[in-house]
Symmetry: C2
Subunit: 220 residues, 2 copies
DNA sequence: ACCTGAACACCGTTCAAGT
DNA sequence: ACCTGAACACCGTTCAAGT
């Protein structure tokens, strides 16, 4: 049968085909692949994921992913994008829970950043570990990233208006805060602080300590 | 010829063989492989390095590396080890250049950490990006890492004795400082701050800003 | 302590052809 | 919008055998 007629046929009655024969597994294979990949991440690692493995986990042939992603790195980018959105959402929730208290917002958001990151270290390595080519990062990806950063800057500005934070450029302060929690999270995730932070509680404790140091400085 | 006799022969007159026939390329293939790998790092990326590629660049067969490394990840670990030593050495030099001034030592060491890291972002991703299994990290590796951290703690303690830094546990302060510079470096290396830090001078500038914020805090 | 060469299972990617 | 199946070049790893 010609491809054209076939396409008309299946796009017209997707559900029917899904019920009658077991050929088309997913309404949204794209999401299913991303989900399967996230499930495989802990076992394979960010740099050990294989397209064929992901396809098999999603129950499709190893060529099927190419219908939704240009190549493997496009799939990886989509996974990282999902991770970034989840991180962003979680922090937004935490921030909303401490309304009108910029100082607490900052500390709690930082703590959430570290805690959530350490729940998915492989996701963090995918998002921040240089697996993805910075030049190839999708526009969507950058938007999510910039939106998160803008939220952080907004907290700083609110704190400055309330007379809590000093009057330096808010972007500078935001980068300082982000660098700190990001560095702590990455160091623990990569196993470089195993002596002092193996358990989640220890990581949480450390994130509060560095949060305090950020606020008050380390000078006497 | 039997392997035993052959081994006796070549171990007894390595240089002769090297001159007479072009078969044994390296006195120290292990180092040559690491060096070749470091050279390939910028082109291949931390997770794109292939053993065969490295062997070819070193001018040996693709099975030769197995004489010196158990497997690919052992080679990667050795590369990371080299990177860690270089980073450690560079910081030791900077610290030595500002003797008896713990505050400046801290700021300059941080700046050097960021600057040097950004000169080899792929090396940083290999060292800190989760490419290596934390459990597999060699003892040597951990020793270098711990030695560096001990040096940082020592600076903090000196500053506390001099009455410059506050009297918190020096390990807490050390982790705070390390997290900050590490986070900044990793964020820039992964391309997440391209708006504010593409040039090395901007990175250097940022590292000084966060250093200042670390010292004085962000509260008013 | 290296070499060649073959072999194995796996990988990303690209086809042609089918439903 | 999926499928199978074959193909390609590449990969990590393991051999056997040679120098």
């Amino acid at each position: 049968m010609s491809t054209l007629i076939w396409n008309l046929l299946i796009t017209g009655s997707n559900e029917l085909i899904n019920r009658e024969q077991n050929t088309y597994h997913h309404k949204d294979l794209r999401s299913a692949l991303i989900e399967a990949a996230i499930g495989l991440l802990p076992a394979s690692g960010a740099s050990g994921l294989s397209l064929r493995e992901v396809a098999k986990a999603a129950g499709v042939s190893h060529t099927a992913p190419y219908r939704h992603f240009k190549d493997k790195s496009a799939l990886l980018a989509a996974i990282a994008q999902t991770g970034f959105e989840r991180l962003s959402d979680a922090i937004t929730t935490v921030v909303a829970a401490h309304d009108n208290d910029p100082q607490q917002q900052l500390v709690e958001a930082g703590s959430a950043y570290v805690t959530l990151g350490l729940q998915n270290p492989d996701m963090m390595h995918l998002m921040f570990g240089g697996v993805l080519d910075p030049d190839t990062l999708s526009e969507e990806f950058c938007n999510t990233s910039m939106k998160s950063f803008a939220g952080l800057v907004h907290i700083i500005e609110a704190g400055q208006k309330a007379g809590i934070f000093k009057a330096d450029p808010p972007e500078s302060i935001a980068i300082t805060a982000w660098s700190m929690v990001h560095g702590l999270m990455m160091l623990i995730a990569a196993g470089h602080l195993r002596d002092m932070a193996t358990l989640p509680e220890q990581a949480e404790q450390l994130s509060r300590i560095i949060g305090h140091n950020l606020l008050t400085g380390i000078l006497k």
